[in-house]
Symmetry: C2
Subunit: 350 residues, 2 copies
């Protein structure tokens, strides 16, 4: 049973020998460092080409960089995250950096392990998407590796923050529903396993803003909230709980489109139609929300722009920036057919 023949990798020494120069020269050419004559550069490049040399990332990691950006992804099913990754990859294209992703869920345990895994692998920078670990741990990591945190409104001296103006976004949704005439508006939120500061997490901000706007409109008596998770299952479970109440809410604001989809399932199972019986709104304006058979009112936040910015900030930090930065995108409401005035029974989505 043929033992695997691992052909020895071409090393910098092979290239040097082939080009008749020193390994130092090759290394310099590779990093386009200062102090190489054009002649030598050409010979080395030719040798690299001929031998099909590729730098050994682990060896590089021992001394310098790995040219790797680690991305913590809490959940592969959230259809909003690919937008962020598109932006990041766009920014990284053309550089020598590669994004690798690790799944940080479900659970805080898994998230902690995933982050450790990135640190152990000596990535040059980390993008954490909506982490649930506590601030203390985040700062510990950020002290070792340039870090950008996406989704937390926490301000920190050691990492950069990129987020959406979740307060505005939630306000847009709730005002929209109130404007349509709803009073019994329920909310499906996300209950983190971890210890993020209540006010810092995006889901906490969306929930708090929902409550604030309700109060401002004298609806403090009607604040049913189901805290589950921003996921299909969470939305399903949350909607079931909310629908069991009496009187039933006439509208549901799900804190994320993924949860809204689950809520939709629960609504259908209960024989209720949207928006005739219950209006439904989400957040993230994912592509699914736009699907005409779903046509979900949602909040658009520019995920690609957030990803692009996160990439830029990471590269800047890797190049040595020490100060920290916050970046916020402004969301907009995208009304669709899933929301309508209460009791507007004729209005079924087609």
């Amino acid at each position: 049973m043929a033992t695997r023949e691992r052909p020895r990798r071409v090393t910098i020494a092979d290239v040097a020998r082939h080009a008749g120069v020193s390994t130092t020269a090759v290394s310099k050419v590779l990093r386009s460092a200062y102090g190489v004559s054009p002649a030598m550069r050409d010979r080395v490049k030719a040798a690299i080409e001929e031998l099909g040399y590729r730098p050994h990332a682990a060896a590089r990691a021992m001394r310098g960089r790995t040219f790797t950006i680690g991305v913590l992804l809490p959940d592969l099913r959230n259809p909003f995250f690919p937008d962020i990754l598109d932006g990041l990859n766009e920014r990284l294209a053309g550089t020598d950096y590669q994004a690798i992703m690790v799944q940080g869920g479900p659970g805080t345990e898994a998230e902690a392990r995933a982050i450790e895994a990135l640190v152990d692998r000596q990535v040059d920078g980390i993008l954490m998407i909506a982490p649930e670990l506590g601030r203390a741990r985040l700062e510990e990591v950020a002290a070792q590796v340039p870090t950008v945190v996406l989704g937390l409104h926490e301000r920190s001296a050691v990492y950069d923050a990129v987020h959406d103006d979740d307060e505005l976004g939630a306000e847009l949704v709730v005002r929209h529903l109130i404007g349509l005439g709803h009073r019994r508006i329920a909310h499906i939120g996300h209950l983190p396993g971890g210890r993020v500061r209540a006010s810092a997490a995006l889901h906490a901000i969306r929930a708090a803003t929902y409550e604030r706007v309700m109060r401002e409109h004298g609806l403090e008596g009607e604040i049913p909230v189901a805290l589950t998770s921003y996921s299909e299952e969470g939305g399903y479970e949350g909607a079931r709980r909310l629908l069991a109440r009496s009187p039933r809410p006439t509208a549901i604001f799900a804190g994320a489109d993924s949860a809204a989809l689950g809520a939709l399932r629960a609504l259908h199972e209960a024989g209720l139609s949207v928006p005739a019986d219950v209006s439904l709104a989400g957040y993230d304006n994912t592509r699914l929300a736009a699907l005409s058979s779903i046509s979900l009112t949602s909040v658009d936040q520019d995920g690609e722009e957030m990803g692009r910015t996160a990439g830029r900030l990471l590269l800047e930090r890797i190049e040595g920036r020490g100060s920290s930065v916050r970046f916020s995108v402004t969301p907009t409401l995208v009304p669709r057919r899933s929301t309508a005035p209460p009791g507007s029974s004729g209005e079924r989505a087609r």
Copy 2:
């Protein structure tokens, strides 16, 4: 402007000093290798604990393993892939291995770079999901790194293959549609950028089977195929092309649920309803297909099982298995409300 203080990592030497033993001893304990007394093991473990030591992956990579499995993901938006990852992660949990993912699309160029990135980072094993690179390149990679290819029916001596019985799956769909009375059944397929052998790729098998079954039922005159891609955009574009034909197809078999969603959008835009005007079927039975507002007839393949198996096969290969293996799951049809007899106008989905 505080320049970042990178606290020096705790190394194996620190642990050794702290425990009053040699680095070898520590290394052995870490790898639970043969030849350490329980007493020493305990002292070392205590020292590791006290110092918060974590092995440096890059240093390990120089000599031995990285304990990293690389996953090539062609597309983050395909809702079927998370099922595979769940299976893989389940298998890897409890081992020292970590899965990292790289995005291999869009385009063969990007895929090639993504695979290089994994090889450069010395992963111990690679899981390639539906790669489009040619067989030659796959085998080159597999000769260097234990590899499992998911989705290709290519048989190879150097890598393991995990796939669904796509021939059966496609047959189930087409027979189902024919059984409902359809004759003008169209297909939306995937046109790979790369050079996979025509017959080996899962999309090619689904398309070829579609044609075969159509022929077997004397429908060789009615084989409109749109080759775009297995994605929302691809499905949309494909459906638009198919709907422009005259006479219009009465049913569409999209080779993947993601494409079916795009087709659904095109159908709605054209003012057609499903299944009254056109029946629609997908493949993969993703969670979205089950959503009642979509209720898409689809083919279920057990992605989790495929992922679990891929993980197992990789670990086996890493442990030294040299022979190669194929694993196939059997798909089942899941009929839903998106398919119905042609012209059954009363039958709108609720």
